[in-house]
Symmetry: C2
């Protein structure tokens, strides 16, 4: 299957699709239900590494250590557990994260500072370290070049399906591959305080350049999704580039860099949309496009207000063409806009134009709103700035999932 | 029954409790279910009037005309319909609002500019003006000095109970009374883009002074509640003061003014808490107190983030002591705070202290969380600024109400 850019191919698999990456996903008993809860990823060779982290002022201990270990731009191993956030535990939480890196490092014969840690789940409960350390041994023994899907499953919390993707492209007759996996699904919100995502590639690229590319890519993908407007304390995107492709090094401001960036955007947007579509209790993926705003900031504010509005999201769950709530959300978003130059469409349906409600056929509307993928366009008609945000509807199941998550 | 300030008495009734106010509430057929949908309020004498309005950039036509008619500080009549917002209809919407003021004025023999209009309900559908004009005649014919409760019922949309209150106090041996009514219940959010509230008093007071007092009072009451973070295009607080008490005029910076302000705050907080407790689908009233913040802005940001968080609100519905979500909300609120000096309590339960989770008994927690009134205290321990916000939990019923509101 081809992407819009015909040079970039979607391929099967996830984080182990690129050359030289092993992964595993095992059950260590951190989750009460027995589902897999430790993912381990290892690169055959030392890798350039970069990461971006939650903007939340409260940060998990595993995340803190990961951030520290990334400072030198080198890493070979990623450990992620689900079921426990390892947060708000004081010095013992950081110590647990350190023990994890030491255990991984000993088994893999690498420096502990080359292990990146991530934890996601409930806040304030100490990690069951006996289970974790035994689990790491098990995860190590199960590492394989086809373990990407197992790892993608092990990082899930309330996700209902595995999120992985991979793309490849030719650089001067050599294949470069990028793989990725991610987990949602509540607390998904623009600004990357939202999720765990891991990207791997066999491209050769410096950590400095990788960091810049990762930030720009996230701003067009992972930072444009919203489930409930909440953000979490443990969320991050990590990328490892092990240079095992035969293609030469990707340097800034080259055609090769342009292609790599495009490929990374394609895979990141694909993962981001999967996360939005699998928001807690979601039944629909909603794409919100703001068009012709006076500034980028105005476009973002408006898109975010629509995507975060419980009233808008509940109306989509009810398959109700309630454009009034969309307009109202823009009205309080703080965006500079004029209702009298604005039009609103849901799918092909024009509902509001330049200050006026447009009569529409309820049956046609019902047909449009029954779809699983819905596009909302809000055209301000006053500028040249556009933006897109992806979100989901708000359903009964969101309440079920979140009313009793901790217990 | 006495308030904390023993000089101010809670009394029965609402907007017709003060001297010289008549009201009615009738069914004009605007609402499909036949419930009453027009409220009319009339003062025997010309009154000082003030109002504050939604900050939403999209404003209803009835609200626009009301704002205009308030400019001179005089009004004698308030018309409010529920079931239709009279918004996004272009010139015909404003014209309908004008026709309403003219009809009321003709029946009451007052200038049309002394009629204040309000409309609340669905956006983008023209008011059924035949019904409205016939309804105004009926409402006029039913005006009475005990009609406050009828009016309070007629402004309800998804509210599940009538919201009215009244207080009285002595000013130099003369009784002054303040009455009030309000409607919620979704789209309730700090900054007064939230609700319709009407206050009446027989105090003698200038429109200029009344306006200042109303703004300050709203900032301590109606602007401190949040149901879902959304705000509406039609919402306002209005006050009429007809001077029919025998007490002398209340002037700024006097003991009398202080007492009046306190009484207005008491009734406004009472109405505001009723609105929060009757948020769409709400089963609990939650008071969020931020204490010892570095600035008023930090306290407000944090309180608002907690009160608007769907994850926090859903946890309260599930009676789950999920302090991690409270801390997380503060973390992304933008408030300047340090988790390592912060404590969190829910009711009497200490759950988080200075960076650390505090073990607690789940049964005790269940008992605390089963209550209908719950207080959350978040003490930043770094400053001297406090604030309070009232909100409600997020339940299945919110989804039911909002999935099919329009149709």
């Amino acid at each position: 299957m081809e992407n819009s850019n015909s040079k970039i191919l979607n391929i099967n698999g996830g984080i182990t699709a690129p050359k030289g990456f092993l992964a595993s996903g095992i059950s260590a008993g951190i989750k009460k239900n027995g589902n897999t809860d430790i993912a381990l990823i290892f690169s055959d060779k030392p890798s350039s590494a970069a990461g971006i982290f939650t903007l939340n002022k409260v940060r998990g201990h595993s995340l803190d250590l990961c951030d520290k270990n990334l400072k030198d731009g080198n890493a070979r191993c990623i450990f992620i557990n689900s079921g426990n956030a390892n947060a708000c535990l004081g010095p013992s939480g950081l110590n647990d994260a350190l023990l994890i890196t030491e255990e991984c490092a000993a088994l893999l014969n690498i420096p502990a500072t080359e292990v990146l840690t991530g934890s996601t789940g409930v806040i304030g409960h100490p990690l069951p370290m006996n289970n974790v350390l035994t689990g790491i041994k098990k995860a190590h023994s199960e590492l394989k070049y086809t373990g990407g899907t197992d790892a993608a499953k092990a990082i899930m919390t309330t996700d209902t399906y595995i999120k992985e993707a991979a793309v490849s492209f030719e650089l001067n007759s050599n294949t470069v591959t990028i793989g990725g996996m991610a987990k949602g699904s509540g607390m998904i919100h623009p600004n990357m305080a939202t999720l765990i995502g891991v990207l791997t590639t066999d491209a050769k690229i410096s950590a400095e350049f990788l960091k810049i590319i990762l930030k720009n890519t996230a701003d067009k993908s992972f930072n444009r999704i919203s489930v409930d407007g909440d953000t979490s304390v443990c969320d991050k995107i990590l990328i490892l580039a092990n240079g095992m492709s035969d293609a030469s090094e990707i340097k800034p401001e080259t055609d090769e860099a342009e292609l790599f960036i495009l490929a990374l955007e394609i895979i990141s947007i694909k993962l981001a949309k999967m996360i939005a579509a699998d928001g807690e209790g979601a039944t629909k993926l909603i794409e919100v496009n703001i068009k012709n705003a006076k500034s980028s900031d105005d476009a973002h504010k408006a898109a975010k207000a629509i995507a975060n509005s419980p009233l808008v999201k509940t109306a989509f769950f009810g398959e109700d063409a309630n454009w009034g709530r969309i307009l109202t959300a823009v009205g309080y978003s703080g965006a500079d806009f004029n209702p009298n130059t604005t039009t609103i469409t849901i799918g092909p349906l024009l509902l509001f134009s330049k200050g006026l409600a447009i009569p529409f056929d309820e049956n046609t509307a019902k047909n449009v709103l029954q779809k699983k993928d819905i596009t909302v366009n809000v055209d301000f008609g006053t500028g040249t700035y556009d933006t897109t945000v992806w979100t989901c509807d708000l359903s009964h199941k969101y309440i079920d999932i979140n009313a009793n998550y901790r217990t």
